[in-house]
Structure formats: C-alpha cells, structure tokens
Amino acid sequence: MDLSRFNLITIATPLVLGAGVLLVMLVDLLSGRANRRPAQLAALAVVLAAAAVCLATWNTGGVSFFGQVSGDGFASFFNLIFLAVAFLVILAGPAYLERNAIHFGEYYSLVLVSVMGMAFMAAGTNLLVIFLGLETMSLALYVLAGFNPARQSSNEASLKYLLLGSFATGFLVFGIALVYGQIGSTDLARFSAYLAGAGDPFAGYMGAGVALLLIGLTFKMAVVPFHFWSPDVYDGAPTVVSAFMSAAPKAAAFAAALRIFYAPAESLGLPWERILWILAALTMTVGNLSALNQASIKRMLAYSSVAHAGYLLLGILAGNELGAAGILFYLASYVFMNVGAFTVAWMVNRRGEGRYDLGDFAQLGFRRPLLAAMMSVFMLGLIGIPPLAGFFGKLYVFTAAVQAGYVWLVVIAVLNSAVSVFYYLRVMVIMYMRENEALKDVDRIPATFAAVAACALMVILLGLIPGSVLDVARAAVASMP
C-alpha cells in the first residue's frame, strides 16, 4: 500500500496533543491523590511541545489522508491560537480550582483533548473530520462546564450546553448528510467545486444542506439567534473554563467556517449574503445592547463575546483575502483579551462563586494598580482603541467588508462599537473612581498573574506589529488548498 498517503506531518500537532492527553492521565494517576502539580506540569510541557511541533511543521503538510486533512499554514496559525489559550488556562487554572476544591487531574486532559478537537476543526478538509473535531471539542467542554458538581449553576450550565449543543450537532450532521446526498462526497474540494460549477448552487438538497451547516456552526460561534446558551453557560461554568470556552471554541468555529465557506463565498451569491448580513447585524446589536446593563462581569463578557462574533462575521461575509486574514488577526488578539478579562474577573471576585458583581472591581486601581492597568488594557482592546491589537482586528475586518461593498453593515458595526464603549469603560470607571466597599483584599497568585500579564503583553505586542502578523495571516489564508 502507498504509505505516502498517510503523511503524519499534516496532523503532527493534534498527534502530539493526543499522545499528551494519555501522558497527562498517566502522570496524574501515578502522582498520587492529593498532588496535582505533576499533571499540570505535564500538560504545560505537552502544550509547549505541541507548539514547537506546530512551528517546526508550519505550512509543510499539504493535503493528506485521502484529502481528509491539510497541514497548511492556516491550520498552523489556528493551532498556535488554540495552544496559547490552553497554555494560559492551564497556567492560571490551579489557583481557581484549589479555591473551589475541584482541582482534579482530568481538568488538564479535558483541556488538551478539547484543543485536539479544535486542531482537527482547523485542519479538516472534509466535513466528516470537521464534524468529529467539533464533537471532540464540545464533549470535553460539556464536561468542563460541569466541573464543579457541588454548585447547582455549574451542573445547570453543563446540562444546558449539552442539550442545546447536541441539538446544534444534529443540525450540522443533517446538513452534512444533505450535502452528501447532493454531491456524493463530504470532501470540501468537491463541495466548493460543485458550488462554483453549478448554475443554481442551492438547487436540490444543497440549499437546505448549507443552511443547516450554517446553523450548526453559528451555534458554536454564539451568533444571534443561536446565542441563548452562551450567557448562562459562561456564567454557570467555573470561570477558568469560561475563559477557555469564550476564546478557543469560538476561534475553532470560525476556522471551520472559513474552511467550508471561504472559497465558495464569492460564488454563493445573493441568498447567502442576505442571511449572513442579517445574522451579523443582529448579533452585533443584540450582543452589545444586552451587555449594557449586566451586573455580573461574567454575563457582561459573555454578551460582549456574542457581539464580537458579529464583528467577525463581517470578515466571512466580505469573502475576500483581507476579510479572512482579518478574522485570523482578530481572533489572535481577541482570545488574549477574553482570557485575560475572565481571569482577572475571578482573581478579584471576593463574594463567592455565585456572585460576580462589577462592584468587585471597586478601587482596584489603587490597591492593585498593575492588575487594574492590565484589565484596562483588555477593556480598551475589546473596545478597539488604537494602538491596541483589538483596534487593528476591527480595522482589517471592517475594511474588508467595505471593500466588498457592505458599507451599511460597517456603519452598524461602528455604531455598535460606540455602544460597547459604555459597558467596557464602566469597568474602568469602577476600578478607578468608585469608593471602596471594604472588601477583602485580592489574593496574590504569581502563576495566574503571569498568565494575565502574558495576555496583556500579547494585546499590546500585536498592536505594535500588526502589519507583520497580518502578513503571516495572509500567507496562512493563501496556503489553504
């Protein structure tokens, strides 16, 4: 048999992660009951090893495994984003898990197996691989959301996510089945060739198939009207998990969407445009307006992440190279801002897990100036204030949309960004201006602080060298088969 068809280089990064899952489980088993430190160190080592492998095999894979995966620069770029998020939540996590007495070794193996699923979502060039990657990611997330069995809201979040997520998966599978019924293949190359060649791409089963695919993916992105799960799940889940969930899976869903829809986006024509236009406008508006009067920082960040999914949809709608590369850049900066903001949120929480009040931030600017400064970086980044990374992400995506002729949608997006200034700035106002409510002092946790500092540095750094990062993103998009 021709073994060159099984080119392991194409799946080197997920392969390392898969082996890492088993290694971490073994280390955790061998290191005794009370000691979780070895499992954490093993998981960090696995993530670093996977990142090294990812950099070493950057854009060298090509399509392999009978056209199932492509180890191109696009996959490598996203792998690096996923691995960065995994590293941060593994580094920051133990303090939170200890505080809630839920420090189990499975946390690390679940994060790793979830990231492995995401890697396959980004690398898949076959709907089947993308689907299996999505399920692997989601299954781990369902469990992670319910990682604190003693808290009712965590169980509720897990169950809600599981039920709605399985429902969305049903849509996705049904969509894949209809596409298969129409073209006799789940291969994405065949899919885009069919859409480009057909006179009416939506004739037969294709229209329903593509619509169902879109529903399945937009659920994972938390796009309105499939967003109802996200505030409840982010709010109920343990906060380290919320940080992970709000960042990496969203990036993975956009990676899969780009894989499926980027090339055919031009050929899909009017019905497709109209649907995405409405979805994007609704998502931005509903997300931002709902975030306005949230008392809980976790819910506010959840709605803010809904709004960001709306901005990101502009890049997909634009369908041009700048739009796709802009999404990559946007996500690379967005994940750091979100992980950082969620991590600071649980660091300053002093009223117990059930209550994440914005009032927790009172006077933070004077008691922990550095932490408050970093939180300000995340908030300003999420608004999109230059020269932070968030500004350039929005700039690229919006420019791409204008180039593609969606001027009114960009006007809506800019107005929405203006609305979002209010609730992001409110956090800063509370940090620097509200009176102290005589709360307990914020714990000093070096590892978690380091993770937050790394996030803040990345947000600033990506804002300093946006051009060269965008060039890497452009090359990554161009390397897609």
């Binding site: 495994f65 197996v113 699923g117 691989v129 299996l132 692997t136 299954l139 781990a140 006799g184």
Partner: protein
C-alpha cells in the same frame, strides 16, 4: 411494494418515537425506543446497507438499550405523576405545530429531488467489504479521531460519576 414498506416502517418508527417521549413509565419508553431503532435498521436494509442495519440492531437495540434497562431497574424510578399540561408543554406544542406548517410550506415551495443518482452508480456501497475498505483507507483518520472522541466521553463519565466530597 417498496413504497408500501417504506411508509409502514416510517409511520411505525415515528409513532414509536413519539411514544418514547409520551410514555409515563420509563421502561415502556425504552421499549418503544427499541422499536424505533429496529424500524430504522429495517430502513437501512431497504437502502441496501445490510452492515449498518446489523450494527444498528446489535449495538443500539441490543447493547445500549439493555444497559438503559439495567440502569432504569437499578435506579427504581417512579412514574411521573404530572397532572395538567404545564406552560412549557403548551408552548412546545404550539412551536412544534408552527414549525410543522412552515416545513410543509417549504417542502411545497422547494421540491426536493427523489435522489441525486450517485448511489446507483456505485453498487455494493453498503456491503461489509465496502464499509471496511473505506473505513481503513479513506476514512482512517476520522475513524481514529472518533476513538479520541470516545476517550473524552470516558473521562467525562469518570468525572460525573465521582463521589461528591
């Protein structure tokens, strides 16, 4: 003849699917689920996919359902004693009715082709040999990813069944 059997199996499977969620006794629900799965298996046979049909019966109707029944009997669940229709049930029925109407209208507006023809071009598509061959060549990677999917499920089960401190 084929259309008759298809209709028969379709009606029985949808009916028993409804009974799964309408039954008060969990054991009866599970038994109706077995009936649904067997009907779906028979549909697979009609699509000349005997391997999938056999797997469906052995794994779903056989192994998983037996497990379900065991768990139900061990848990000794009581019957649901719910009297009047709750608000959620009424909302559910209304939403389902609206969706059914919309789906019917859609199907009338956009007629779906009976088949796209590619299945007839590849005879023996559903045989054990064809499934085995494609599973270990073209679909080797998805097959292996599925094993990690199951691993994630196992880890999850371990966590959920952990004794509460």
């Amino acid at each position: 003849m084929e259309a008759f059997f298809f209709l028969l199996l379709a009606v029985v499977s949808i009916f028993s699917g409804l009974m799964v969620i309408l039954q008060k006794s969990p054991v009866a629900s599970v038994l109706f689920l077995v009936l649904t799965l067997v009907c779906v298996a028979a549909l697979f046979v009609m699509l000349s996919a005997p391997f999938i049909a056999a797997i469906q019966v052995i794994i779903y109707a056989g192994a998983i359902m037996v497990l379900f029944l065991f768990v139900l009997m061990l848990l000794n669940l009581q019957r649901f004693t719910e009297g009047a229709w709750s608000r959620f049930q009424i909302t559910g029925v209304v939403v389902a009715a609206v969706l059914a109407v919309v789906t019917a209208l859609l199907l009338r507006a956009v007629p779906l082709p009976a088949d796209s023809g590619f299945l007839r071009e590849t005879p023996g598509l559903g045989s054990v040999e064809a499934v085995g061959l494609s599973l270990f060549t073209e679909y080797l990677l998805p097959f292996e990813i599925a094993s990690f999917l199951l691993l994630a499920g196992i880890i999850g089960a371990v966590i959920l069944s952990r004794r509460r401190p």
